[in-house]
Symmetry: C2
Subunit: 339 residues, 2 copies
């Protein structure tokens, strides 16, 4: 267990992880949507060389290049489940590649929506440090690659919503309290006015699973990275506080306590569990651990399980394509083993 | 724990208990439905005296007389939950009484449907011994009381369905296999042709709970007690065999195993459990114990819980009238403590 997602961090009761993503493009190539095979290969080679030759300066990361064309579908989907690849990356057809740090906290997608999508993830609530890592890696690449940059607009990106900083700073939040109290829609609406959005865990358009929400900046133009991060941080602090308040209120009700203990009871005993049911139960257990109702299970364990019990991860672990019922069985076995 | 229902007996995987009930009336009084207060009191006194004066000959039973008029409603209902009183006994208005043996295996209701309803219960599948106890007690009472008896018809009872032997021999069966395989209706229909009936656990008209069924003789006229019991015994053996066959088949399916383990998981962890949910879950757990899937829980424990977790028993134990949610909470607490 030495992957970034196998731990919990600051404010881990509510904040699962912090993510900084930078979108960059090489000035001498058209955007990926207009790129031919030859150009795509050239972009891959340039970025790959720039990153791997920076390895000495980023020795702790020990990057490895992954030729995603050669990966089978299960492995690709398992990388999506770990948030190392975007769902679009898997479905699109153009030549792409992925560079991953050893602990999987840094991923660089090549030829996704932009030529370079640099992503850094950390456990818990840790925007500054996560940005610092992304920023220093960006600086190193900037020395070796010619990024498309406009003095007035900032970094040029395929989609105008990323124009400017090209940065998306996100926090993965566990909000069972706000969800259950029915205020999520109101919270989301208010966030939009503040230039932030709240989405499901696999990004834009995805449904919230297990009461997990991704809070991120919407605006990339006209604000510095520092301002954006401070803004996100301040608002996240308020949401965390609200969530905790609702939780303490919920904890006074025997129905909540019952709900939590039933969830751990089923997870520890079931022999078949679907992804959907798992996500609902693990959310209840996470709440139970955060409230101190469930002892002997750590947030680390839960974060780990939430990744490892995903469908493609199970298939990858079993080293074969599993049927639906086999997946449910493997998932239940894994959960019982871990809990 | 020294009550009869706190143990399991022969063929305890399927047969929870054996019951023999004899209906008798005193020849010099009208049937209870036509009885006035004075007559009812006289019947109570005569039967009470006959039983209590037999205590020396039945020393192991140590009977005690219970003036049911003086019992509060909760205590009365808890006696129904233990099958020591019939639901009718509680709802009717005429003067009644109850005589109970110390371990509660023998109960004598006075002025229920008949003047005397003598009932003996044993754990597991044990028709002969249970009948023997009932028969010897009947003989003792017969010496002291003048039972209404017709040489041609046999014992006279208020309801003609009891005429003759006045005996109802019953087995309480746990039949989750036959129930789930959807053959119960067919089985019941066939039993009728054989002079037997299959009913819910609180007798005629009651719904089957927790896959529990009461198998008993329907015919009391024209057959001796011995023939009736042998008939019931032979057919019960076949049903037990069928149930076991279906269970072994079910046990091959991961869905059954999952269902069983989820049930124990919820029972061991929930903080609120309704009677209805409890009965469903305990049935699954009973099946799991019988199949050897659940270790560390005995059939004795389950039999005990099935009585103790009933609503009035919980109120009686708490020594006050509990609200619905308090009952659910007390039930869950008791279950966690026992399991």
């Amino acid at each position: 267990m030495d992957k970034w997602y196998e731990k919990s961090g600051a404010d881990g009761d509510v904040v699962i992880s912090t993510r900084i993503r930078l979108a960059r493009n090489l000035s001498e190539f058209p955007f990926p949507c207009k790129l031919q095979k030859k150009g795509a290969d050239a972009v891959i080679n340039l970025v790959k060389e720039a990153v791997l030759s920076s390895n000495s300066q980023l020795s702790s990361n020990n990057f490895k290049y992954i030729d995603t064309q050669k990966l089978d579908k299960i492995t690709l989907i398992s990388l999506v489940e770990k948030h190392l690849l975007s769902p679009d990356f898997v479905s699109d057809k153009i030549e792409k590649s992925l560079i991953l740090s050893e602990n999987e906290s840094i991923s660089i997608m090549i030829n996704e929506e932009d030529h370079v999508r640099l992503q850094v993830m950390s456990q818990g609530f840790d925007l500054e440090k996560t940005f610092e890592i992304a920023d220093s890696l960006d600086s190193l690449l900037d020395e070796k690659l010619s990024f498309a940059f406009d003095d007035k607009l900032g970094y040029l990106t395929q989609c105008p919503t990323n124009l400017g900083t090209g940065m998306r700073a996100s926090l993965m939040l566990h909000l069972p309290g706000l969800k259950q109290s029915g205020v999520m829609e109101k919270v989301s609406a208010n966030l939009l006015k503040l230039g932030l959005t709240m989405r499901g865990i696999y990004g834009e358009g995805s449904e919230p699973q297990a009461d997990m929400y991704q809070l991120s900046n919407q605006v990339t133009l006209g604000l510095s990275e520092k301002t954006t991060i401070n803004n996100l941080k301040d608002i996240a602090k308020q949401i965390i506080l609200q969530e905790r308040t609702v939780r303490s209120e919920m904890a006074k009700h025997i129905e909540t306590i019952d709900f939590i203990h039933r969830a751990i009871g089923v997870l520890k005993n079931a022999r078949l569990i679907s992804t959907n049911e798992f996500m609902k139960l693990i959310s209840a257990v996470r709440l139970g651990v955060a409230l101190g109702e469930i002892k002997g299970v750590s947030l680390d364990t839960i974060n780990f399980l939430m990744i490892e019990a995903q469908p493609a991860m199970l298939s990858k672990f079993a080293n074969k394509d599993l049927t639906a019922i086999e997946k449910e069985q493997k998932r239940a076995d894994l959960i019982r083993e871990i809990l």
